[in-house]
Amino acid sequence: MGRFSPRSLLLGLAAPLGALAFAVLVCAVILGVTGHSPLDTVDAMVSAAQRPRTFVNSLNSATTYYLAAVAVAIGFKMKLFNIGVDGQYRLAAMLSAALAGATFMEGLPSFLRVALTVVAAMLVGAGWAGVAALLKVTRGVSEVISTIMLNAIATYLVSYLLNPARLAEDRPGSNNVGTRPIDGGGQVAGLEIPGSSSQLFGLVFLAALVGFGYWFVLARTRFGFELKATGLSESAAVASGVSVKKMVLVSMLLSGAVAGLVGMPQLLGSSYSYSLDFPPGIGFIGIAVALLGRNHPVGMALAALLWGFLDNSSNSLDVAGVPREIVGIMQGVIVLSVVVAYELVRRYRVRAEQRDVGTALGRTKTAEEASA
């Protein structure tokens, strides 16, 4: 919300860049204290960034993180904390993987198969989030508590279902189990990037589409307006005719549906099966990315890219003899400091705006007027 002016752009960038700089500083100190050269580390990261392979892998990770961030941000926009994105995407990925790999799907046209898989994932994600939404709307249960518990339940449900007796099969030659692999017709082809052995996820475009949809709904539709209004002041939203219960239900379902998409780029573009080693914890990365990107469609994209790059450069750090854990420290410091930085910037912005109004009206306001 707000005007687009050089100042607002600058202020918008000040907090994340400041947090990033602060995190770099903290990491440099930690590296220095533990006897590693900060410069070598930067060097290793820079040379990693120049490798097309790191670039592609970063973009692939970012695709996944971005979807998770959007799922979280939908809730954040109305002060609803969907901590359950993690459980939602794992359950969705697992069940849709089982569906996509099922033999009866093999006769279907490729496009329909992919669409069915994606829709199934969204439905499962929405359904799992819907449990928390229903509990909140009918019984007043905090969504924070219920989604955390649903994450745990999802973990057990997935490991129960991921069993050769049920939806999974043994992987010959390893002790891994996974759903029946999706054959070529159910996969989404990746994009070849010159100089890189890995492919770019085809579903990177799905993430872009979701980002666009997120922006459009929030900025241009009545529903989006009501969602933001509810987040800014629930009591004012109620007085304006918004049914908060309905908003909680719908936004939670939407958040869950997007969470359902989180596993899709990986499932349909690279692993083709949900197995024990499917990446966990992405829901929590989504929270960090949404915080860093301030729930803004472009901001979250940049944040997701940064996160993806940091993750993928950690391999090169190992090679350079720098402990890769420094990346985790850096990510943690970024999240902590960006929260502080955003609050500082917000306060500054409010004061600056009041000053502007005062100047524009030819006199300064009294403090009581400003706070009245």
């Binding site: 919300m1 707000g2 005007r3 241009r220 539709t221 009545r222 529903f223 989006g224 307006f225 009501e226 933001k228 209004a229 800014l232 002041s233 009591s235 004012a236 939203a237 109620v238 007085a239 304006s240 005719g241 918004v242 049914s243 409010v350 004061r351 600056a352 705006e353 009041q354 000053r355 502007d356 109004v357 005062g358 100047t359 524009a360 009206l361 006199r363 300064t364 306001k365 009294t366 403090a367 009581e368 007027e369 400003a370 009245a372």
Partner: protein, 514 residues
């Protein structure tokens, strides 16, 4: 002018503020404020909302530190770092909003924070004695063992005063003490103040109710736009002159011209009953009708069911019994959205809670409550262009002082936020306006403008439910007046003949004259 506590002559002023200036970023709250409060007097500080009275008192009470200027207490230059310092110097503050724990007794509330100890034990007995002594000495009539929850508003205020005296205050600051009282309670309070004065205490009394100030104060200081503009004696000024000093110009008067009341009922409420969350009946069988072109004023002490009535009419609260009809339609169970679309405008009592989104732009606030209607939206999509153009119109027609419609509502003063709300609720041709305290906290100019807009809409057959704590506004702006007491409508009055005192009696249920 050096003040020396000379023996025999005038004693040093209890409080002397000279050249006080306080700036906040972008805002000067006080500039060059000078006040001399003689010991043993009631000194009134008057000024409009936003004139800087509260900031000044926060400085005197140590909650804020001045950028410039000096504070002298009893002739001695002093600097307060915190309220604790002020209390030590014998200054006590009675806040406008009571700071009492409802579920504790008077005794426990009074000692809270300065608990009397005997060794490690709390010594309630000594404390109880002291409270009785203080209560008797100043005729405060406070029983230390009653639970605050059972006390009325006037009694709670006396507990607040006692709390301050208990901590040894010799100078009391009372911030708008009468805002929450009905006329009879005001008289009692003034009796207490005279008692305190007779015992040699000094009182600084903040108010914008001029008749009260004239009746109780020994000296009056007028503030306007952050500075002191005059020091007068109540014997030398009329309340009208005082008001014009406060405003710096002539005053508007709330009054309706010719009656525009028609016989077409717009809002018909029958037997409306609302039960609170605790099972208590907060509205008890209310019935009334508002016709097109009629303003129905509801008078009552805050907390007698006004808020519940408004919320029941807006569909925010579900009634347990009764019906609400708008025109011919039964809307008892209709959603808030449906009611708004059917033409109910709503100016809420607490604009920050229900009226505006502080962290949203003015045009987004224009959309709020109108998001399903033109010009704010078309179908499921927002009409940004239409909404912005209409916001420009409201800013122009309602004189909202703002550099543009893209600023956040939080950047505007309360009065300008209120004008935006009134402008918004008056757009889209409402048939009924529910206005709770529509001019609370706005300056005189904005007040006159809001009254004029209501009058004009009334002439075009708008029905208005007006709830206000300002009895002059109620009497001046209403075609019909009703009094609400403990969730019931207890009396009807003709606004052309009723006096504020009669209303006050009916509001407390004290002297019912029927």
């Amino acid at each position: 002018m050096p003040t020396e506590p000379a023996a025999g002559g005038e004693p040093a002023p209890a409080v002397e503020l000279s050249g006080i200036t306080k700036r906040f970023p972008g805002v000067t709250a006080n500039s060059d404020v000078n006040i001399t409060v003689r010991a043993g007097t009631v000194h009134a500080l008057v000024g409009e909302n936003g004139a800087g009275k509260s900031t000044l008192m926060k400085i005197l009470y140590g909650m804020q530190q001045p950028d410039e200027g000096q504070i002298r207490i009893g002739g001695v230059p002093t600097a307060f770092g915190s309220p604790a310092d002020a209390i030590k110097a014998g200054i006590g503050m009675v806040h406008q909003h009571f700071m009492l724990a409802d579920n504790l007794t008077v005794l426990e509330n009074v000692v809270l924070g300065s608990e009397p100890r005997a060794g490690v034990r709390l010594d309630f007995r000594a404390a109880r004695e002291r409270i009785r002594e203080i209560s008797a000495a100043y005729s405060l009539n406070v029983d230390p063992d009653r639970v605050v929850d059972d006390l009325g508003v006037g009694e709670r205020q006396r507990v607040e005063i006692l709390k301050v005296l208990y901590r040894g205050a010799r100078t009391l600051i009372l911030d708008e003490p009468t805002a929450v009282l009905v006329p009879q309670e005001v008289d009692e309070l003034f009796g207490n103040l005279r008692e305190l004065k007779a015992e040699g205490l000094t009182i600084v009394f903040i108010s914008h109710k001029l008749d009260e100030v004239l009746s109780v104060a020994d000296d009056i200081t007028v503030m306007r736009r952050g500075t002191t503009v005059a020091s007068v004696s109540p014997r030398e000024v009329t309340s009208r002159q005082l008001a014009e000093l406060m405003v710096g110009s002539a005053l508007p008067v709330p009054e309706l011209r010719d009656s525009t009341v028609t016989d077409r009922p717009v809002l018909t409420v029958t037997g409306l009953t609302v039960t609170g969350a605790d099972g208590r009946t907060v509205l008890d069988g209310l019935s009334f009708t508002i016709h097109a072109g009629e303003v129905l004023g509801i008078a009552g002490v805050e907390g007698n069911g006004q808020a519940e009535l408004v919320e029941a009419l807006m569909g925010i609260r579900t009634p347990t019994a009764g019906t609400v009809r708008l025109g011919g339609e039964n809307i008892t169970r209709a959603s808030t959205r449906h009611r708004r679309e059917a033409g109910i405008g709503y100016v809420p009592e607490d604009r920050h809670r229900q009226g505006v989104l502080l962290e949203a732009t003015l045009w987004e606030n224009r959309v709020l409550g109108h998001q399903t209607r033109r010009p704010s939206s078309r179908g499921a999509l927002l009409d940004l262009k239409g909404a912005k153009a209409d916001t420009e119109r409201i800013v122009r027609d309602y004189d909202v002082r703002t550099p543009g419609i893209g600023v956040h509502a939080s950047a505007l003063s309360g009065g300008n936020q209120q004008k935006l709300i009134v402008g918004r609720e008056m757009s889209a041709d409402p048939v009924l306006l529910i206005a709770s305290h529509p001019t609370r906290g706005v300056d005189v100019g904005a007040q006159a403008a809001i009254w004029e807009h209501i009058r004009r809409a009334r002439a075009e057959h708008l029905a208005v439910l007006l709830i206000s704590a300002d009895l002059d506004e109620l009497i001046g702006m209403s075609d019909t007046l009703a009094v609400i007491l403990r969730g019931r409508l207890v009396a009807d009055y003709d606004p052309s003949t009723v006096t504020p005192e009669q209303l006050g009696s009916a509001m407390t249920g004290a002297g019912r004259e029927d």
